[in-house]
């Protein structure tokens, strides 16, 4: 397929269909409505199914049922709706089901605003729902990456039997950029879904049960530990990040998603001002790219975390840096998108000896 100018939300939906997703259950919420709308138009054309659920609570439970029946299934929402889905996501992780979730982040807390934000990082990476589990979280910074990561998400979900989230923000959802949807093949070696509830006549009489209830504590512990062995493998093998201009950088900006692009522009300006600044861009937020920090630690003198939040990824950066270098933070919230000039000013203050 040639490159096509698409809106981010639509590109993500198209990517899901390209990856073999034929089932979408969701509910409208700004700023991601183009995803359900696109799915409602396109899925019936190819024999897929679009269901507009009565709420995000219902939607995530439809996802659970469909995933448990063996399908590749997508849901999407924005921050408040993702809050509603947390119970369901916990159940999906506990029942070891694959699914892809898209969060087009908006400003919070509460009803908040509809403009972009990055204030769901904690919710996405640290649980959100109850109990011990993780969601694999992929953070695209542009629309082609959103397409590629959405397709990757389906493979990772099937490989690990776990929910995978594409964490975008309202900017990514609403931007229009050229994207290319190449012919898609599922990753090699994905396990067969021989656990899916398709009826005992398909399994030679063996009953299949999708469940997360384990009332005997020793069984539940065993179950959770087994799930965490999956996460160990995820942390070993699925980390993705990008380093830009860090080879000689005194100050390393840490940013993801839309903010990383603003950081790029800021870095250009800083370099022209003679400041040696680089970018460490996590692409997987879980698993967090701790290894990336080891790569830059030799050269970097300080870090500047920039987020559209009051500081959430900041905590993981602190863990990664482990006190070895000073960490500054610059955040905007309320739906405000920082300008490159603001970031340049922060860098200048750090370079001038004042770490914010």
């Amino acid at each position: 397929m040639a490159r096509k100018l698409m809106k981010g939300n639509e590109a993500i939906a198209a990517a899901a269909i390209n990856a073999g997703c034929r089932f979408f259950f969701g509910y409208p919420i700004t700023p991601q409505n183009e995803i359900p709308e696109y799915m409602s138009r396109e899925l019936p054309k190819i024999g897929g199914t679009y269901v507009q659920a009565e709420s995000e609570v219902a939607a995530i439970n439809m996802v659970y049922g469909a995933a448990g029946a063996g399908a590749r299934v997508l849901t999407s929402s924005s921050s408040p709706g993702i809050s509603l889905m947390q119970e369901g996501i916990s159940y999906i992780a506990g029942a070891e089901l694959p699914c892809v979730l898209v969060n087009v982040m908006r400003a919070g807390p509460g009803l908040g605003g509809v403009q972009p934000a990055q204030a769901d990082y904690f919710q996405a990476t640290k649980g959100g729902g109850h109990g011990d589990y993780r969601v694999i979280v992929l953070a695209p910074a542009n629309l082609q990456e959103a397409v590629d990561l959405t397709q990757l998400a389906f493979d990772l979900a099937d490989k690990y039997r776990n929910p995978v989230m594409v964490l975008a923000d309202g900017m990514i959802g609403q931007l229009m950029e050229p994207v290319e949807l190449s012919p898609y093949q599922p990753a090699a070696g994905l396990p067969a879904k021989d656990w899916a509830t398709t009826g005992t006549s398909h399994s030679g009489g063996r009953r299949r049960i999708i469940n997360s209830l384990y009332l005997y504590p020793d069984e539940l512990e065993k179950h959770v530990r087994a799930i965490f062995r999956k996460y160990d493998e995820v942390e070993r093998t699925e980390v993705r990040f990008e380093l830009l201009d860090c080879e000689d950088a005194d100050i390393v900006i840490v940013a993801y998603g839309t903010t990383s692009r603003i950081a790029r522009s800021a870095i250009d300006k800083c370099r022209r001002l003679g400041l040696r600044v680089g970018l460490l861009r996590p692409i997987t937020l879980y698993p967090f790219p701790f290894a990336a920090f080891e790569q830059v630690m030799g050269r970097a003198r300080s870090f500047l975390v920039v987020e559209m939040s009051m500081g959430q990824m900041l905590d993981d950066v602190k863990i990664a840096v482990a006190g070895r270098r000073p960490i500054a933070f610059y955040g905007r919230t309320g739906g405000i998108v920082p300008t490159p000039e603001e970031v340049v000013k922060q860098v200048q203050e750090i370079a001038g000896g004042r770490v914010a």
Partner: protein, 248 residues
């Protein structure tokens, strides 16, 4: 000698954990027998609730998914949309369906999802120890209505069949009981009709079964059956509330 009655192969060998005389056991049997008689056991999927029947996946001899509290109709929607040839049914109590799950049941009915819902109404929350349910009767004492459900402040019971029957895309809605053999036989006919309709892709069906909770009602199992007759049926009249097909 021929068999008059034997345990249905639609049930597993797992002994049921229900209290002595609890009608869950009877209702499980009626559903299990129906699945066998319609020859759909091999493509049935039960969606288990949260409630006393949370272990339904251990008792029905078919595939199963455990749902979050109240969400079974949404889970069933997901399964049925992926595999329309599966016979998908939910089995829910009065907290699961009429309290936390009210949104999901109304909307599954609204969409006319081609699923079957078995609604077990015993006017109380059994598993959690006897709290008030949306279907608790006015004046009925429970652990959260210790002086009896009060019309002021706690309202009056929800009549699920009557409510859902107003939803256009439903196909079959019936209320039955199992407290006598004739009522039990009629309950089975209603359940069978409901599953038959799904088999024929005719749409959404729900059978509400008035049930007992001897433990939390504080009655013997036999007295609990009488309580259904004397106290529940006047409030929840038995009958067919919607039957698009006719001929019940």
């Amino acid at each position: 000698m021929k068999v008059v009655y034997e345990k249905s192969p639609g049930l597993t060998d797992v002994p049921m954990h229900y209290c002595p005389g609890c009608t869950h056991g009877i209702i499980h049997k009626l559903v299990a027998e129906t699945l066998v008689e319609l020859d759909v056991l091999g493509r049935a999927v039960v969606v288990a609730p949260v409630g006393c029947a949370v272990f339904a996946y251990d008792y029905f001899n078919c595939d199963a998914q455990e749902a979050a509290h109240g969400r079974a109709p949404a889970v069933a929607t997901g399964i049925k949309r992926v595999h329309p040839d599966n016979i998908v049914f939910t089995y829910q109590g009065d907290g699961d369906l009429a309290s936390i799950g009210m949104g999901e049941i109304v909307h599954a009915a609204m969409r006319g999802e081609n699923i079957t819902v078995v609604f077990v109404n015993n006017a109380i929350y059994g598993m959690t120890g006897g709290q008030m349910a949306p279907t608790t009767l006015v004046g009925q004492p429970t652990t959260t209505s210790p002086t009896g459900r009060s019309r002021i402040g706690q309202g009056a019971p929800l009549r699920v069949c009557e409510m859902l029957a107003t939803i256009e895309a439903t196909t079959y809605i019936a209320r039955v009981s199992v407290h006598t053999i004739p009522r039990l036989n009629a309950a089975k006919r209603a359940i069978k009709k409901a599953f038959q309709l799904q088999l024929e892709n005719k749409g959404f069906s729900l059978v509400e079964v008035l049930s007992t909770c001897p433990t939390n009602w504080g009655l013997s199992p036999v007295d609990a059956l009488r309580w259904v007759e004397q106290n529940m049926i006047p409030i929840y009249p038995l009958g067919v509330y919607k039957d698009v097909e006719g001929g019940t």
